[in-house]
């Protein structure tokens, strides 16, 4: 069976600047691939190339086994794409717009109404069908953008930062929708928000300065995120020497106001022992938090520890 998306040795230069540098990956049915990276890392460029909006400098992209450069029409039939800014015609109503999108993707007039209704239902747009897109809120416009990407039931759905600018409730709804889409389609999702990937994706890729520096499952990312430090806050000043006696503790840093950052060995978690000591000594345990590393720290970690980023992939 062929993969839904197969990207091989993709390069893209803008003048001398290399925006995408030797990126290769595959996407199978039922996978939700999170594409992570800081701003300007090359996420959007890669997605644009997958969707045929941008020609790669070199490399090959197969959609469902069809080369998008050789047979763009056939390949694009299987693609749904939501760019960063939803490509909606603001002077049309939701119904008119989705109808146009359906026809544009070669859905016959007889069936387009049903396809539009299905897409509206899945994106929660049934109520706003006759309204002008211009008069909808940002969140609804974003949903119209997603509806546009799924109206022709493509095998692959590519969403570029689908939750940007939405309020928390809408974000939750859209994540829910993405998970639902992931069951029947292959989904690629780009974002610079880490929790988004953790919540909705099955696989993750981190791209940094155009290079793929991490490619694996969500579990492998969580592994990397687990930091080797705890933050402890107590009511009374603690005796640091006692804490040093706990097995696995490497160093303790006082950050003021009875707060301590405890660095420990990666494979040992001293949290239970520390809690016992703090409570036993009567210092009053106010907080005990395992620190998670931020996206930036992971980037720094990955990019600094492995200059040849591709070796990490596996």
């Amino acid at each position: 069976m062929t993969s839904l998306i197969q990207v091989q040795e993709l390069y893209r230069y803008y003048g001398d600047h290399c925006a995408v540098n030797n990126v290769s990956f595959t996407l199978e049915k039922g996978e939700i691939l999170g594409f992570l990276g800081p701003n300007g890392a090359g996420k959007s460029s890669t997605m644009q190339m997958i969707c045929g909006n941008l020609a790669p400098t070199s490399g090959q992209i197969l959609i469902n086994g069809i080369d998008i450069l050789d047979q763009p029409r056939e390949a694009k039939r299987e693609l749904g794409y939501l760019p960063e800014i939803p490509p909606v015609y603001r002077d049309l109503t939701v119904d008119e717009y989705l109808e146009f999108c359906a026809r544009l993707h070669g859905i016959h007039r007889d069936r387009s109404r049903r396809a539009v209704d299905t897409a509206k239902e899945r994106c929660g747009l049934t109520e706003v069908g006759p309204r002008l897109i211009n008069n909808l809120s940002k969140g609804y416009q974003q949903r119209v953008g997603i509806a546009q990407a799924i109206v022709h039931m493509p095998a692959v759905i590519v969403l570029d930062e689908p939750t940007v600018g939405l309020d928390p409730i809408q974000i939750r709804e859209i994540r829910e929708l993405i998970r639902e889409l992931g069951r029947e389609h292959g989904v690629i999702l780009s974002t610079h928000i880490l929790p988004e990937v953790q919540e909705s994706c099955t696989h993750v890729q981190i791209i940094h300065k155009g290079r793929l520096v991490l490619n694996g499952t969500i579990a492998s990312l969580e592994q990397r995120m687990r930091a080797s430090s705890l933050v402890v806050a107590t009511c009374e000043p603690a005796d640091v020497r006692q804490l040093y006696s706990v097995e696995g503790v490497q160093s303790i840093e006082e950050t003021g106001h009875n707060r301590y950052r405890i660095f420990h060995d990666k494979d040992k978690d001293p949290a239970v022992r520390i809690a016992e000591i703090v409570v036993g000594a009567g210092w009053g345990l106010a907080e005990l938090v395992p620190e998670r590393r931020s996206m930036e720290q992971i980037f720094i970690d990955i990019t600094q520890t492995s200059p040849q980023g591709e070796e990490q992939t596996a």
Binding site: Q48, N53, L79, P87, H105
Partner: protein, 251 residues
């Protein structure tokens, strides 16, 4: 054919904006006034010509000047209609919808072109109604009228092709409008230079839109003029396709 889907949407969007309606309205008023003025003039000279031989008829005195003026006025108006075609979509980032859909660049360009072309046809149709109304009171040289309509349709098709190309080359609708207007005006008057030198400016004369338009207005439907217009349209459509493809290649 996907081009028709795109053309239908384009036409619909045109009519959703007040621009199309106001253009139709204003053009109709101005041309209607010109038509009446021309009619007035004809009625004034008609008694004097009654006895003479080989005089121009009603079609020559009313229809040809009317279409001649319409050409100039629409030269001012067409840039306003074509300016948004591609540039606005590029600005609003809606082009990616068309790029991602299973349609070719040619489909997109032809669709956009047909959309605006249908609109221009509506304008020509409304203009043609004026001389046709004369049929109620007398006879017209229908052959000449047909030649005039053909001339205007070809001229507007040429205008629209230039406008589409310039819109495909720019990011801002207003810049596209100004540039289109400049380009059309230049093509219109390009044979003004060196009128006295005779053959030296043959090429410039051949390039002038006005020359070919006037020939057709006289009722002389020659292959040279027809081919000129068809080549003109085709050239700019092909250029537009390349221009649009640049979006994908370069950026």
């Amino acid at each position: 054919m996907m081009a028709f889907t795109i053309a239908a949407r384009e036409l619909r969007t045109l009519f959703l904006s007040p621009l199309a309606w106001s253009v139709l309205g204003v053009i109709q008023i101005i041309l209607g006034y010109m038509f009446l003025a021309q009619l007035d003039y004809f009625l004034m000279v008609q008694p004097r010509m009654a006895g003479m031989e080989d005089v121009p008829g009603v079609t020559d005195l009313i229809v040809a000047p009317l279409f001649g003026n319409a050409g100039v006025i629409l030269l001012l108006v067409t840039p306003l209609l074509t300016m948004r075609l591609i540039s606005e979509e590029r600005r609003n980032r809606t082009l990616s919808l068309l790029f991602t859909a299973p349609v070719s660049m040619t489909d997109i360009i032809v669709g956009k072109y047909l959309g605006v072309f249908f609109f221009l046809l509506i304008m020509v149709g409304m203009l043609a109604l004026m001389p046709l109304s004369l049929l109620m009171g007398g006879a017209l040289d229908l052959g000449k009228l047909a030649s005039c309509i053909l001339a205007l349709v070809l001229l507007l098709a040429g205008f629209a092709a230039v406008g589409l190309y310039i819109s495909a080359s720019s990011n801002q609708p207003t810049v596209a409008a100004v540039a289109t207007f400049g380009a059309l005006l230049l093509l219109w008057i390009i044979d003004w230079t060196g009128g006295a030198e005779g053959n030296a400016n043959g090429v410039l004369q051949y390039l002038s839109l006005l020359r070919h338009y006037e020939a057709l207005l006289k009722g002389l439907v020659s292959t040279t003029d027809l081919i000129y217009f068809l080549l003109f349209i085709l050239t700019f459509l092909v250029l537009s396709v390349h221009r649009l493809d640049n979006d994908r290649l370069q950026k």
